[in-house]
């Protein structure tokens, strides 16, 4: 894989919160190692929300957890991962543990399973705050918790209620408030609104969108809903088979997708303006044995000979977009010889080969 060493900047004010360089996260199964994350590179600036989209099984959840070091036993990481300039891959386990919550946060999909039904909301906050600031006073706990809850739209009168007294949307707001009460610099939100209703989802997306006004938190928002990315995120990374195939400003990527996969993904999404159904044939590859060349070539409608043999280079394109696609290469003026450009005959894909 390419070593995408951009200028390696140490921690400096205004610099990226998170620098990820050619990160790999593999984990073992009976069938061999799964290359869930296989050479991912990106930066995250302070207060920025980066959307991470892709089909299920493309490695987006593993990437999110891998950034926080929450990995299954036996998994391995390498590459570079710097948080505020600090190398996270060589950090000791205890140090990592200490940073989680206070500097790194995580928001999960299922809020009910993450809250202890026997503990009041106030107790959850007290426990979280005390775990990182042992000497914090009771008044401080209350003041800071209420502040976090208020930002998430939970009335202070409900502070001493139990989790079951809240609706699903309220519980997710509480989970987000809990993740933010320590003001972490970086939060991973893994499908935070998937289990929620449309209106509640919209409410929470709006709150996430407005977070930067209150907190200076950077966020990696993992979702399969492209609409959410368009509305809440500054930039978007499109992931396919363990690799980020396109990354750039959300508006730019959605209005002018460079990678064939991004384009097909957008076309297959059913939205209010849908007038015909489109879909991507085939299923994402088995990550224990991904295809050669560009991983997307077996499903790509405009695959060329070169796509099957050679991995496309990562290219910086106008508009702040970075993509790895041979078709984009050609579109941006690179000349390939006749043989390489010849359309790839597609192997027959059965109708039911799908995710």
């Amino acid at each position: 894989m390419t070593s995408l060493t951009k200028d390696q900047t140490p921690a400096r004010p205004g610099g990226p919160v998170l620098e990820v360089r050619d990160l790999r996260v593999w984990y073992g199964t009976d069938r061999g190692p799964v290359r869930a994350v296989d050479g991912v590179t990106f930066d995250l600036r302070p207060g920025e929300i980066l959307g991470l989209v892709g089909e299920s099984g493309c490695g987006k959840s593993t990437l999110g957890r891998g950034l926080l070091g929450l990995l299954p036993e036996g998994a391995a990481r390498d590459g570079e991962l710097r948080f505020r300039g600090k190398d996270m891959l060589t950090l000791r386990r205890r140090e990592q543990y200490r940073m989680r919550g206070s500097e790194l946060g995580m928001i999960f999909q299922e809020p009910l399973t993450r809250l202890n039904p026997m503990m009041r909301i106030s107790d959850h906050f007290a426990e979280t705050l005390r775990a990182h600031e042992r000497r914090i006073s009771k008044a401080d706990v209350e003041q800071r918790s209420l502040e976090a809850l208020r930002v998430m739209g939970i009335p202070p009168t409900r502070f001493r209620a139990y989790p079951h007294e809240f609706s699903g949307g309220m519980r997710q707001r509480i989970m987000i408030a809990l993740a933010l009460v320590l003001r972490p610099a970086f939060v991973v939100a893994d499908e935070p609104t998937t289990a929620l209703d449309v209106l509640v989802e919209a409410q929470i997306i709006r709150i996430l969108h407005n977070l930067r006004a209150t907190y200076d938190t950077s966020m990696l928002l993992i979702t399969h809903n492209l609409g959410i990315v368009a509305e809440a995120c500054d930039r978007v990374a499109v992931m396919y088979a363990g690799k980020v195939v396109e990354i750039g400003p959300a508006r730019e990527v959605f209005s002018n997708p460079q990678h064939s996969y991004t384009r097909e993904l957008l076309r297959s999404t059913i939205s209010l303006s849908t007038t015909g159904l489109n879909f991507i044939d085939g299923a994402p590859p088995d990550l224990t044995d991904p295809p050669s060349g560009c991983h997307f070539h077996p499903r790509c409608p405009d695959a060329m000979q070169i796509c099957a043999t050679t991995e496309p280079p990562v290219r910086d394109l106008p508009g702040g977009v970075r993509a790895a696609c041979w078709a984009a290469e050609v579109a941006h003026g690179r000349t390939l010889d006749e043989d390489a450009r010849r359309p790839l005959p597609r192997e027959a894909i059965s109708v039911a080969d799908e995710a």
Binding site: M170, D197, A202, I205, A230, A283, A352
Partner: protein, 450 residues
């Protein structure tokens, strides 16, 4: 690329495919109610006290015309899934009727029991939301898809095998040999949903109730399954009830749409009319809330607050009024709404929460619905001033439309609310809508429906 098929011509009011089929909608509900008894807490159960009733469906009247796709759209708790289950007789109705007009003439589903109800299932079938849960983990795909034929003693042996293979091929699970002997755990989500659909069509039904058939699937598969359902509808002459929370897919897929909220239909009409000219504030809110990848769309500012209320204790008046940005005086304002507004005041400006809370006192009594609310203990003048302050800070808050009077009775502040009405479905333009903003006769440019 395939495009949306022509919607059936509804002007020839259900002429039907042949003369052996009785005229009229293929399925029709009239004032359908499905109420569940809920037992209270552990203590109440021991003492046999206080059973509450949840009105999962509270007077639903809809028609499914032959060859049509009727969308039933709502949030969870709106009763849309219960409606789908009731159409198959899986949720027993407590009031009202369901009429099915099929090959054997006109039948009342709501009065069927036992064997008769089981026989109905050869005509009305269901596709479930979660394909992984809808297939028996210990049956092969061939067994699962063929089981309806076995259950109804329609086919066996070679004939059974032939029909199963035909159904599997029809839903795209081909080559059949690759899938027939597999167990559900060996298939992907989309493949499982195809198997579920194959099982539903193998009895050659007339109506398919599809309960969120694509919402659990991966986004790259959703369009494929929707296309499959359109193909099946065309080839087999099916009628669909498409239950979903996703307005975008409903817009593409449905001929007519019923918007449900808390057990009732609040707006129903042709898809184009609903989307071009949404009337009920809830429909408008749902439309605004759809996240859209179109970068030109902006985030909506006026989303309704809160979530769908508890169906065991629905709001007075119109069920949507506590969240409605357009609510007026007659919407059914009550004590619980006052609490919401106070909570909102404290959430948004919490500076004086402690002092104000002490002034207002305990609010729990407001949770019992009442048209008259009392506030404060001791200093009524101060409480009144506080309430006026809350009103001044957000005068556009719809609640204040419904406050008839707010005055001190010497020891407490008494808030009285305007009388509310519970709006019924009424004709408005090309649709029917249940909202006080559309009173009888308003915009009745088309003749009132049957």
């Amino acid at each position: 690329m395939p495009t949306k098929p022509e919607s059936p011509d509804l002007s020839q009011e259900d002429a039907g495919p042949g003369d052996d089929v009785p005229p009229g909608p293929v399925i029709e509900t009239d004032g359908l109610e499905v109420h569940y008894r809920l037992q209270g807490g552990a203590l109440a159960r021991v003492l046999g006290l206080r059973t509450r009733t949840v009105k999962a469906l509270d007077g639903v009247t809809v028609q499914l015309h032959r060859g049509e796709v009727l969308g039933v759209v709502g949030e969870s708790g709106s009763g849309k899934t219960t409606l789908g289950r009731a159409l198959l007789g899986l949720a027993p109705s407590t009031q009202g009727s369901i009429t099915y007009r099929g090959r054997d003439g006109e039948r009342l589903v709501s009065h069927m029991k036992g064997a008769e109800l089981r026989r109905l299932r050869t005509d009305v079938q269901m596709v479930f939301q979660d394909p992984s849960a809808a297939l028996n983990p210990s049956m092969t795909i061939e067994q699962a898809v063929g089981h309806p034929l076995v259950v109804h003693k329609i086919a066996r042996g070679a004939e059974l095998r032939r029909r199963v293979h035909e159904a599997l091929e029809r839903v795209g699970l081909a080559p059949v040999e690759r899938f027939a002997s597999k167990y559900p755990s060996d298939l992907s989500g989309g493949q499982k949903q195809r198997a579920v659909i194959a099982r539903a069509i193998i009895l050659d039904p007339e109506v398919l109730v599809a309960d969120e058939p694509i919402s659990m699937l991966d986004m790259s598969v959703r369009a494929k399954i929707l296309q499959l359902m359109l193909d099946l509808k065309r080839d087999l002459g099916l009628s669909y009830v498409y239950i979903t929370h996703d307005l975008a897919s409903a817009k593409y897929f449905c001929d007519r749409i019923a918007i449900m909220y808390l057990g009732r239909v609040v707006e129903i009409g042709p898809t184009e009319e609903i989307f071009a000219n949404p009337r009920h504030p809830y429909t408008k809110a749902l439309l605004k809330a759809i996240p859209d990848p179109d970068p030109e769309r902006m985030l909506p500012r006026d989303l309704p607050r809160g979530e769908i209320p508890d169906a065991a204790e629905p709001p007075l008046g119109c069920s949507f009024h506590p969240r409605c940005p357009e609510a007026v005086a007659a919407c059914g304002w009550e004590s619980r709404d006052l609490r919401v507004v106070l909570d909102q005041h404290w959430t948004e400006r919490g500076a004086d929460f402690d002092t104000e809370r002490r002034l207002v006192g305990d609010l729990d009594h407001l949770d019992a619905p009442s048209k008259r609310a009392t506030l404060g203990k001791g200093d009524p003048a101060a409480v009144l001033a506080l309430m006026e302050g809350v009103r001044a800070e957000n005068p556009d808050e719809p609640l204040w439309n419904g406050v008839r009077s707010m005055e001190s009775d010497g020891s407490k502040v008494v808030v009285e609310f305007e009388e509310g009405v519970d709006p019924a479905l009424r004709r408005a333009g090309g649709v029917d809508v249940a909202c006080v903003l559309y009173p009888d006769g308003a915009g009745s440019d088309t003749a009132a429906s049957d």
